[in-house]
Symmetry: C2
Subunit: 879 residues, 2 copies
């Protein structure tokens, strides 16, 4: 039998979401529940996929099936397309598996033509309504199906109003005759633009509309929305064809939208709006101000009472807050849609907790109802809602770290630090940031850059600090010499005030009041439940005792990545590291390193103490050495280290790299200069001995970065072990420590069986692993990624969401090979993906022991880990 | 039973090369053949591996086994270590699986001490000889085993000569008393340097010597040699302990080295040298000038005749030209070694052909006897005859390795390596060479020495490298301190240019023009045999009709990689490409591209015509665009393209990349600017149509570079196919063309099943694949690769020899996945590895269809492919 592509509402049910889309499945389910639903049918998501496979064509067999279902619908409705007595009018609406509100196209009133409009005008005795429906249909069809911009039609309306001598008149003030005239003009405009008559055959109209909805699955805003919400392009959308009901038939008709609970707070009360004598789009368009839903009780009490009953029924049936659309046609209530309602993070937490308490949901179900990404918003300052409404967006960038910030523009890290230290609110505005800017970033409320993506230096560091950040803003032009910048054409001097919304990427040219985030009891309750169910450990990436303390507050159970180089950029240390770089002999290098050693030891003691009982993984020096010489005054350095300016310049030149990311860095530094690894080992071991004397029981984890060959690790490990064991023996203490490696180069993953012979743990550095596996640098990818999204080559940013096909395959290979050699091997991830929910789920699936992410993402990771474990459990129960 | 680590010569045979090393296996085999061999035993290569596994210690059980074998040897020889009547003296020599001449250490005369020396002095009646042996032993043992530099001992000899009032006297003029005195002084020097007495116990001496040989397996020159010759570090060396025989017992004693055929030409005649009254090292060291082997017939006719018979026997037995060492002790001949002789490329070809004709070898065996890398020497230029006539010979030496070379004089191996690495042509000029000079020799075009004969170190090594070499030139005087030299009275500074003819021994004081080599009949015959047996196709990488023609001459069967960007750098084109880069709209870009199109079309027509019936793979634009703007005059460009200087500077800035290798290049250019791919498609297709009209039948292969995701290829392919099909339809012709991709990014290999859905062929770009898989850039790796070799982390340059564990795993994965989707998928390789013999063998094994390499490497690839196929066949026959 041929595959079925079209389903009547009465033949489906709510479980068929993947096939029928959310809207279609729920219309079927509501039909099954006996609710008043205008009947219709759903063209499945598989038909959409087929449409794309066939080269954007609806093939003959699907067309036939659609026509057969029109026949069935005509029988059910007792109406016929183009009928002179009882003409059938339908709506054509998209409906994907996951709700994508407003992203795709809709066509109402389909089935109208010059004859049908007369029939319904006569039948209803409401010619104004009939011609209004018709002109809306022509307009909508032209715009959506034929892609004739709707502005041409709006111009004709304006012209008519002018002709009538009242340019300010409302659309509702147009008479039946005006509207009839507009229908004639609209059809003429259609012909002028497209060279053919407006289609009069309802079946031709229908096929055009369905095709248009399929096509809208791949419009730019839909693709962008999918990327934001992890929705695969391969899912496709279903199309729902449903008999029209009319809320605009007069004062006993109306249309509205309502939620079963307050989507802002989660409070259990009916929440919504309606308009009398209107079609659905009028409510959403915001042209007329709608009434609160409770007022419907006065306007149309019977319909209201029925609606309240249906709301209860639906919430109890779906066991979740519902977002519903309804229409009342001459006092009779029709339900047009129900779905789980979108809600704020605070509401999501409250509703989940309430549903447990109401006995509607188990703990596991409630935990799975919350989108982990939403939690971010709770942890950062937000703009005051009223103040935000009054502000204009002057530019946009990539939203890199959430939260709101407002402050004076500082065009250098030095200036940001200078002002920030006096307590001023500062926004650091830079072409890009680099490791030397760390202090200035720390003293800023927000960061704005002109280049870079979500894993650029600015983005990574800002997220770690929990600071609002927008990167890669093409609207930003900086003139450093003049100490000015332009944002979206508007000019600013250093010191002028701007505001940033790191959650949306919006830039505002004025000060906007912010409010601090508040974390309530619901948050704690859900987090405790998450911890109860998750299998994955959650650690944090932190380089300072301050960050470590924040992360512990958010529930981190250890440090998965402590980057030692960040400590080297502080003013008192950079001198010593530069001296080290300028050394010509091992002895000179050791002398410089000796100056750094006590400072590093102090750092580690602070971090060990902040983490208490939790493990700490310390990554040894990773960046290429030239990063420490960027922008230096060679003459000054020459004086400090006792060399000539020429010699220093020669050193700087000799350190230049063509591709620094693939250069002399990571363990390669330890192979060429084993004394660096020895110094760092001494600092770690001495710090552990010191804090353990104070009563802690630290087992430091030393992590060697950028391994691509087992022998590299063996070599550096030998240096570490020799140095550590000597110190431990000298101190006469017992101290356990681990030596492990990052897996961040494809070859390390491919040869993980050999690497695991040397390693006690692996930590997947999926940032670099993604770069090497895809062969592009995240700093440079900005130049072509937009083209990749718009052509649909990429659906997601592989730096934000782990690429399971390529990078994930390497991770799986490494897990399998590594555990094959060493079943006790501890496995974690410390790339940015450690804080991304879908990537956390992947980590759970491949069997890692923990994920590590920036402190502010720890709650997200905890919740995502719990959801992965619960879903995994369900799957096993089913199987 | 415990594993056996030590084998008497009489218990082994020639098949045990892996266990006993080449020297040990051949000594056992010669023993079996009944030849006069001083007896002894071999400590196996497995003992060496065990030594390293045990942390550079010879464990007790192996020590015990060695001692048991000393007992057996004593019984066989009828002599005893330290005996007062018949003391046993032994040599201790390295012997790896593959011959590594001069790379590891040797100790002679072991077993001597103050008492034993008296015994042999009395017994032989030759006190001078006895004490000379003793002082040599002390010196050698101190140097090799205890690493006390030998210069301290040389100084003592000089001092003694001074004291005797004749600083210029030869060592041979020292009396027995002098040598006895030197032994006393040497032992005192030993004690002064090491704080302990020189060991008197022969067993202690023996264990020290064996350990020193094991250790020498990992000295720097041995590691370098292994890297050059693809010898794995895991093989280890065996150690041969053999009873001493003495060629320095007087005028009826002697020692020599000989080949069964001429190693320079391959001519079938005995070829070699000997010295009367000398130990082996004297011949090799080149201190005295030896006699031609034929003269031995006069000096010691019985020994000579026996030797000639043994030579015949060995050649017939091993079916290959043999390189033998012998010693005559008081008229009695002893064979010390036989091995396949190193030979020039020309000799290798002639010998292989002759062995077929003599019925000693099959075609397959003969083909496998030639080292493909050696062919290189045949393909490189010789002196231009006319230019040579005009040049004056200023000196002469012994012609040791044929070929012509011209370059700057380097007076040290370090200088030669330094200059050679920068790409300069260098002639290494030395009094003599020693194994430490190996790297400098490798980086030289030619080698000239003042002392030594045809079997001196310089001569043997240069022939192995296929490098021009003249030795023993009495016309050469070097002043190392002044960094000058005189050749035939003419003075040269380091850096001055000379020319060498290694086939005549002539030295020229000027630069001489060179011409391409002419290849003889043996070459053609072997190449035809290679073609008969190989399975792999051999293509070439060529970007111009000229290169293409050279490659066809060398046997290329197509172009595997034609890089289109090389054409863009020509003066008349770079302007158009810059205009294209500065374009702001698609239209402007297309206008600039339209200028390039006819030029590209012309290039492709030329290449198609040069290749005739053979296929041509054209890779679309690959490098990042900023490469075309390097070092430009922005003001001039501004004028040309009608922009301001500021705008041009902004464009240059905007094109800057942090990691250009991983930036906006390859197919990413075609995704962002599809018009570039469309232009290149038009040029390819129009060119193919044009040449096919002239009677060719070209099927162009369009290759899209840098794919990491199947959808990238699908997108660019759509542009190519649409453009191509339109042109073909317009032209009203039939034209087949293929679209395929490079596999050069790890993700492309990992997802090759999906990529193969879009590709008609894969070409492995193993240069970039190696970079991405290892995570290092070839341009930057120089800073740390030396440390990687010296620590033993890398044994080979992964850019020269394919890394089978990592990169190879990806290639295998891609082959499997790709063929799984599309069994007809054509597979090739176009990275540098395509011309490396061991990598070619890998390509054969994984089942590629062809390799592609630079024109001069085509013969190497053909031969290597044949060897891989033949060895593969042998393996199947065995299994």
């Amino acid at each position: 039998m041929a595959k079925q592509f079209v389903y009547l509402f009465k033949d489906g049910d709510g479980s068929q979401r993947n096939l029928l889309g959310g809207k279609g499945a729920n219309l079927a389910e509501m039909t099954k529940l006996g609710l008043p639903i205008p009947q219709g049918f759903t063209v499945s998501t598989e038909a959409c996929t087929q449409y794309y496979d066939d080269g954007e064509v609806i093939n003959d067999s699907i067309q036939t099936e659609i026509m057969q279902n029109i026949d069935k619908l005509e029988a059910i409705a007792g109406k016929k397309f183009g009928d002179k007595e009882n003409p059938l009018l339908v709506s054509v609406r998209s409906g994907a598996r996951a709700s994508m509100p407003g992203m795709m196209d809709t066509i109402l009133n389909l089935g109208l033509n010059d004859e049908v409009v007369k029939v319904i005008a006569d039948k209803s005795g409401n010619a104004r309504w009939a011609y209004d429906c018709y002109r809306r249909f022509i307009q909508m069809y032209s715009d959506v199906v034929m892609e004739v911009g709707k502005q041409y039609f709006e111009e004709l309306i304006e012209k008519l109003k002018h002709a009538k001598g009242n340019a300010e008149m409302l659309d509702t003030e147009l008479t039946a005759e005006d509207l009839k005239e507009l229908c004639v003009q609209f059809k003429a405009e259609y012909k002028a633009k497209l060279g053919e008559d407006f289609p009069t055959d309802p079946k031709e109209q229908l096929m055009g509309a369905i095709k248009a909805v399929f096509r809208s699955w791949n419009n730019d805003r839909a693709k962008y929305y999918r990327r934001m919400h992890d929705i695969p392009g391969s899912w496709g959308t279903a199309v729902n064809v449903q008999e029209m009901v009319f809320g605009n038939l007069g004062d006993t008709s109306g249309t509205g939208v309502a939620f079963t609970r307050d989507p802002s707070t989660g409070e259990k009360k009916l929440y919504g709006e309606y308009l009398i004598n209107a079609q659905g789009e009028d409510v959403v368009a915001g042209i007329r101000t709608p009434n609160l839903i409770t007022q419907l009780e006065q306007d149309l009490p019977e319909a209201y009472n029925e609606f309240v009953k249906i709301c209860d029924k639906l919430e109890n049936h779906y066991k979740d807050m519902q977002d519903m659309e309804f229409t009342i046609e001459d006092k009779k209530l029709y339900m047009l849609q129900t779905r789980s309602g979108k809600r704020t993070a605070a509401a999501a937490l409250k509703i989940a907790c309430d549903l447990i308490d109401e006995g509607l949901r188990t703990e596991e179900e409630a935990v799975c109802m919350i989108d982990p990404k939403q939690l971010d918003a709770l942890l950062h300052p937000q703009f005051d809602t009223a103040a935000l409404k009054a502000a204009a967006v002057i530019g946009k960038g990539i939203e890199a770290s959430p939260g709101a910030a407002c402050g004076k523009i500082a065009l250098s890290a030095e200036k940001a630090a200078e002002w920030g230290k006096t307590g001023e609110n500062v926004i650091l505005v830079r072409p890009e940031t680099s490791p030397e800017d760390i202090e200035g970033m720390d003293f800023s409320k927000g960061i704005l850059t002109a280049i870079g993506g979500k894993t650029s230096h600015a983005a990574v560091v800002a997220r770690g600090m929990g600071k609002c950040c927008i990167v890669g803003s093409k609207d930003l032009k900086i003139d450093e010499e003049a100490a000015t910048c332009k944002i979206g054409g508007q000019s600013f001097k250093e010191g002028d005030v701007i505001s940033l919304d790191g959650s949306t990427g919006n830039i505002y040219g004025t000060a906007i009041k912010t409010v601090e985030a508040t974390i309530g009891g619901d948050f704690d309750r859900i987090m405790k439940l998450a911890d109860k169910y998750r299998k994955l450990g959650v650690r944090t990436n932190a380089d300072s005792p301050k960050d470590a303390a924040v992360a512990v507050k958010f529930g981190a159970e250890g440090i998965g990545l402590c980057r030692t180089e960040h400590m080297f950029f502080e003013a008192d240390r950079i001198a010593a590291i530069r001296e080290m770089i300028c050394a010509e002999t091992v002895e000179q290098r050791e002398a410089a390193l000796a100056k750094l050693e006590p400072m590093q030891q102090g750092d580690f003691e602070g971090i060990f103490e902040a983490m208490g009982k939790y493990p700490v993984t310390i990554r040894f020096l990773d960046p290429p050495l030239h990063e420490f010489l960027e922008g230096i005054d060679t003459a000054a350095l020459a004086k400090t280290v006792g060399k000539t300016n020429e010699q220093i310049k020669e050193i700087v030149t000799s350190l230049h790299e063509f591709n620094p990311m693939m250069g002399h860095r990571g363990c390669r530094l330890a192979v060429t200069y084993p004394e660096i690894a020895a110094m760092q080992t001494r600092a770690v071991i001495k710090a552990a001995i010191a804090v353990n004397k104070k009563g802690l029981n630290v087992v430091p984890e030393i992590m060697i970065p950028l391994i691509s060959e087992a022998k590299e690790l063996a070599f550096v490990k030998a240096v570490v072990v020799e140095t550590a064991n000597k110190l431990i023996a000298e101190a006469g203490v017992q101290l356990k420590y681990l030596v492990g490696t990052m897996i961040e180069i494809p070859r390390a993953a491919l040869t993980a069986d050999e690497v695991a012979e040397e390693a006690e743990f692996f930590s997947f550095g999926t940032n670099d692993l993604t770069q090497m596996t895809f062969g592009f640098s995240r700093d440079d990818a900005g130049k072509f990624l937009d083209a990749y999204y718009s052509t649909g080559i990429y659906e997601f940013d592989p730096f934000a969401k782990i690429d399971t096909k390529g990078v994930g395959k390497l991770v799986e290979t490494a897990v399998k090979l590594g555990r094959g050699t060493n079943p006790k091997l501890k496995l974690g991830i410390c790339g940015e993906h450690g804080g991304d929910p879908s990537s956390v789920a992947f980590c759970h699936t491949v069997g890692l022991d923990y994920v590590s992410c920036s402190p502010f993402r720890v709650p997200i990771a905890r919740l995502a880990a719990a959801q992965a474990a619960i879903e995994d459990g369900n799957v096993s129960n089913k199987g």
